[in-house]
């Protein structure tokens, strides 16, 4: 039987919710027993996607951000979507170090980080309508530690 789970979260585009979003996703995938590095990668990718919606999608105005998580077996799919202004040129936006708001000290690394830390990234956007980011990551099966009795350990 395949392990399946799903959740949906909706919140307003306030910066405080960047931390809330990544902690929520981390909590949701915790059941897959990810490594610290895997959790950290997912949290960072979520943080980047949510920040993009807040800073670029809504340009610091208030709007709604949708966060969906699906677990199927050991694959996690995370969807971050907004009804913000949309991306005019997705390929240009995905280029490392490119930012449409250089005066804000943005590093322009958001998409690069999402692409590096997740296994898959899809960006769908329509100008004036909104943007949807879909990212996937497969959590590796951890090697189970061998349980050894004291006698076995002493025997060496």
């Amino acid at each position: 039987m395949i392990n399946e789970n799903e959740m949906k979260l909706e919140f307003i585009s306030k910066s405080n919710n960047e931390a809330f979003a990544r902690i929520t996703v981390a909590a949701f995938v915790a059941g897959l027993d990810p490594t610290i590095e895997e959790i950290s990668d997912i949290k960072t990718a979520v943080s980047e996607a949510v920040t993009n919606s807040i800073v670029h999608g809504y340009e610091d105005k208030l709007g709604i951000i949708n966060l969906k998580c699906k677990i199927r077996d050991r694959e996690v799919t995370i969807e971050v979507s907004d009804n913000g202004k949309g991306i005019e040129n997705v390929e240009m936006a995905k280029q490392p170090l490119y930012t449409s708001r250089p005066n804000l000290e943005r590093s322009g690394m958001g998409f690069t980080i999402m692409e590096s830390f997740m296994d898959d990234l899809k960006v769908e956007s329509v100008l004036g309508v909104g943007t949807k980011i879909t990212m996937k990551k497969t959590i590796k099966e951890q090697q189970k530690e061998e349980i050894v009795t004291l006698e076995e350990a002493l025997r060496g």
Binding site: S15, S40, T44, R106, M109
Partner: protein
Amino acid sequence: MEVKYYSQQKLLLFKITEEIDECKVKNIRRRADYEIERFMPKRVIFDFDRVTFMDSSGIGMVIGRYKQAAMLGRKGRTYKFN
């Protein structure tokens, strides 16, 4: 964030202890700019040893402080990445 100024070495140390994301980075940046202007140090060090989370907003902040320090003719250095 803890701030220490070593007057003899003219060194300004920023010990960041909170998570660094787009929300938190605004306060860090504001405080860092204020203290750099206040002390006009020769060297600036950012200590990330106690930072538990950082996304690309942190990268933007560090690069921004490097640029700012360079404009003032100062040397910047990052220290202790987790």
